[in-house]
Symmetry: C2
Subunit: 561 residues, 2 copies
């Protein structure tokens, strides 16, 4: 069996390796346009930051072997043509025309099965000055080397990152590690569009606490050279003013590489622009498979096509494609858009549907916000973790979870992704036997607490109100009673605007201070005491009592200090 | 509604708090024998170590309020009788006889619903000398204070811990932090009986690398005073010799406190000795509920009764009991024996069935051992994680996972617990959309790799062999070829006995060195290259090739250096 695989970075080598394991006599050729193979693209921000010390570490196996052509030949019996571009797929003739960028020679490689693992490329905005020397994307190893060279010269004091998505945010920290003043310019009203607004807001606040300037709803208009030799950008012009820039990083996102597939007449997803595949990773041509960043995925919850290029998905898809190419029958069930990224001291993660996503998919939902320590609260290593949970109101099924804060969100997101895949309801999750010990989790895991809050809301025991709604009330000068039930010490430290303090322990005795005819919004730090206060008030005959979702800990606006 | 709750530590206060939230006018009395309420018993080892600085931190809410009687009265409207022992349950009269240890006064508390949350007590072995001053359990805050007092005097150089279970092992680290020389004496052939032998062996090796002496299959016979005033133990006599001891910690396990329940004629589990409850947490008397360390649980996989007292379970059960007491309908589905503990630099965790447990439950199984970095291997913070997975051979359903090593095992165990609860198969788990970024996970998560190894074995692509079997072959002088396919550098560092090095990259050219008529066992560090070597050999006509489960990384015996 002859297999040609186009793409030598992630999905390509994975597919090749699995095929050779299943069919040791397969004749496999991997065609890679670049010179480097199997490099860890996701590791580039950490190479820029200096955490990953050497370029070759991104190319090595865990055992320390560099994955070059010789490695693939000797260890795996896979022939790799790097520096070789695939120019054309002749589907009728079952062959691929390739061209060596070194010799300029063209040749045809014939195949029984073809795998497209052509990846994705960074979106380059049409801005004047985009070709200047100090403008980079962060997609390949060469980009990282270019950025590192400028950093090494100590010339990059001000860096502007255009785009506040995953790569933009990850790069922020890498640059700050070098002492750069970083500004993130994002066209949308929030960074990290994979999150609901108020969660993204908490991340923005954290970035700003680290000296990063975040400009949302801001459009970059031009990259200008105002001094020097004109070869370098010195300023980024935006619709909110000009920003000095010794370096510009374009992190607007990536677009699937489908030119070859399109020319070959393969189906391309209308909305995503990515290659269509079935659950066997087969394209519209049964002899052509595809995997990785160039393909469209299916959202496991909504069934809708989506484009979420990630190395983890690429690896799984490569395995599925290989099994099917070798005559097996394996399916890829789609994705949940599970994502995690490190933003300075915060772990930011999500899976499934956000509130916005769930509403636009037509769900009637219940949400909960659960801030709390990620380990037993008396352990010195415990850190705050802020969870937002979205569930289907009708069935109680979990739809999505978002996590942010210094606590271990990655763990809870993986558990949530597993629970969503299994179709678990809130009731199922509340009694999961998650492993408990003080150095690892609170006795009631954060995810279980978030689940129980959502159950309380769904059961009508608690009426929540979002910070956004409360903020609007305050802005509108609405007449409501904003009841803080924390301790006087906590109140002295930080307060929400227009709030009145009556500590929970004193509430029963001070009911006379609370108006019976007004809407009451109760809260504390994490809104557990807020919830208890609401129950006390309800029992005392107050009938319009709400609890602020997420309490002080997740208030996304400015606080009084 | 009058509710009496016996027990004020974990399940009791949780039940009380949830009842008062659901039924604010409930008349709740909590009866607690000790003086302290709601203290975090699981935190005691970290109080002994000094990580938790003050006793009161174990008693505080996350917001810093001390949970004493006044707190329960003022904040929760719950009456707490501490220093009060429940002596008798009069089921016919629906009342409990209690006695104050301060005044000696006896009285009756009547109830509509009674909750038994009487907890468990440490097992005290019948050994002479057990009453000496320097012999402790680590169950309550007073035990911890006693241990800390001796440590503070600097008099405890040699400490013997009798029992190598969870508490014994957790306490080891706390004592080593004070510079003690610690010896763990365990009667069984392994410590941490919740793990399979070879995983426990890896933990033992880690303990020993930290200067802890582990004596398994060793029986403590007597606690002796050979010098001094005779009030303190100086030696522990065992069947493997005498051990000097300036302090002795008894950590043999705990036994459910069921005297009261037994006297009241409630059903007690035959095998566990714990209180029987249905899935509504109701005892054999419909007006008496029970929760926490005194009750028997159901194993979710086998349906068998078990006794695994943990704070996490106590909290969940307390909530379930409360909901049902208040007229709701909630069930507790049982447990998976999920456990995690910190052993110096190792995270040791497990969920579901071990290999031993699965076999004794009658399953035909497939297992896999998957060592690997817990994050992208090129990230400096990545650490080795060693997973063992057990699945049902027939259905492919996941049955259990064990984790050890410095890597983040807690996360993978929680995901596994969720997957097992959902009845997921290996195929389901292999394509879970777990969140990936280099600082948090490898592109193929460790659990997914472990799953894929098990799939390969189940599909007959790989024949595994356990370290135990190979070791037996070596001991028996069996004639087999033990093929190490790592690099010469790796081989120079550490080797398995009787192995021959042929690096994977050279294997195809050096087949002539490998006998065709012998059994071949291939391995590498983690057994991925070992697997690839086996496939190369199979393709070359070798028909008796096995792969060492877990490779060098999980070899539980001595290695050559």
């Amino acid at each position: 069996m002859k297999v040609v695989i186009i793409g030598g970075v992630a999905a390509g080598p994975k597919t090749a390796s699995k095929i050779i394991r299943l069919t040791p006599d397969a004749d496999i050729a991997v065609v890679e346009k670049g010179s480097l193979l199997s490099y860890a693209g996701c590791g580039l921000p950490y190479y820029v930051s200096g955490e990953v010390k050497e370029q070759k570490h991104l190319m090595e196996t865990p055992a320390g072997a560099v994955r070059d052509s010789a490695f693939f030949q000797n260890v795996k019996n896979i022939k790799v043509h790097n520096n070789t571009e695939a120019l054309e797929v002749d589907r009728a003739g079952k062959r691929v025309r390739v061209k060596s960028s070194k010799t300029g020679e063209e040749s045809w490689l014939s195949y029984d099965k073809l795998v497209l693992a052509t990846g994705a490329s960074p979106v380059i905005p049409r801005l004047s000055g985009i070709d200047k020397k100090n403008v980079f994307t962060l997609h390949g190893v060469h980009d990282a080397e270019g950025i590192k060279a400028i950093l090494a010269e100590g010339k990059a004091q001000d860096v502007v990152i255009i785009g506040g998505g995953l790569i933009g945010v990850e790069t922020t920290e890498a640059l700050a590690a070098h002492g750069c003043r970083v500004t993130v310019v994002e066209m949308l009203p929030q960074i990290l569009n994979m999150l609901d607004w108020e969660i993204a807001q908490l991340v923005e606040q954290h970035l700003e606490s680290k000296g990063v300037r975040v400009m949302t709803a801001t459009k970059a208009l031009a990259l200008e050279s105002r001094h020097g030799d004109g070869e370098c950008v010195t300023h980024v012009q935006t619709d909110k003013g000009d920003l000095p820039a010794d370096m510009v990083i374009l992190a607007i996102g990536v677009r699937p590489n489908v030119t070859l597939a399109r020319k070959a007449g393969l189906s391309i997803g209308e909305k995503t622009g990515a290659l269509c595949v079935d659950d066997h990773m087969r394209t519209s041509d049964p002899d052509i498979y595809a995997a990785g960043d160039c393909v469209e995925c299916t959202d496991r919850l909504t069934g809708r096509p989506c484009f979420v290029p990630l190395g983890s998905t690429a690896n799984k898809q490569g395995r599925v494609a290989a099994v099917n190419i070798c005559g097996g029958n394996e399916t890829f069930p789609g994705i949940l858009g599970s994502t995690v990224c490190k933003v300075f001291d915060f772990c930011v993660a999500r899976t499934g549907l956000t509130e916005t996503g769930a509403l636009s998919a037509g769900y009637e939902i219940v949400t909960s916000m659960a801030p709390g320590p990620d380990k037993a609260h008396y352990m010195p290593q415990s850190k705050p973790l802020l969870l937002k949970l979205v569930a289907d109101k009708e069935t109680g099924r979990l739809l999505g979870v978002q996590a942010t804060g210094p606590g271990d969100g990655a763990k809870r997101i993986d558990v949530a992704a597993t629970a969503i895949s299994a179709g678990m309801t809130l009731d199922d999750i509340a009694n999961l036997d998650l492993a408990y010990a003080p150095p690892y989790a609170p006795a009631m895991d954060n995810l279980i607490t978030a689940t129980n809050v959502a159950r309380n809301k769904r059961d009508g025991l608690m009426v929540g109100i979002s910070a956004q709604e409360v903020y609007r009330k305050i802005q509108d000068g609405a007449d409501f009673f904003f009841l803080d039930v924390r301790s006087p010490q906590e109140y002295a430290e930080v307060r929400l605007p227009k709030s009145t303090l009556i500590p929970l322990g004193a509430l029963r005795k001070r009911l006379n201070e609370i108006p019976k005819d007004k809407e009451i919004v109760a809260f504390c730090k994490i809104s557990l005491r807020g919830y208890e206060a609401a129950l006390v008030l309800k029992a005392a005959g107050y009938d319009n009592v709400k609890v602020l979702d997420g309490g002080v800990a997740m208030w996304p606006y400015e606080k009084e200090k």
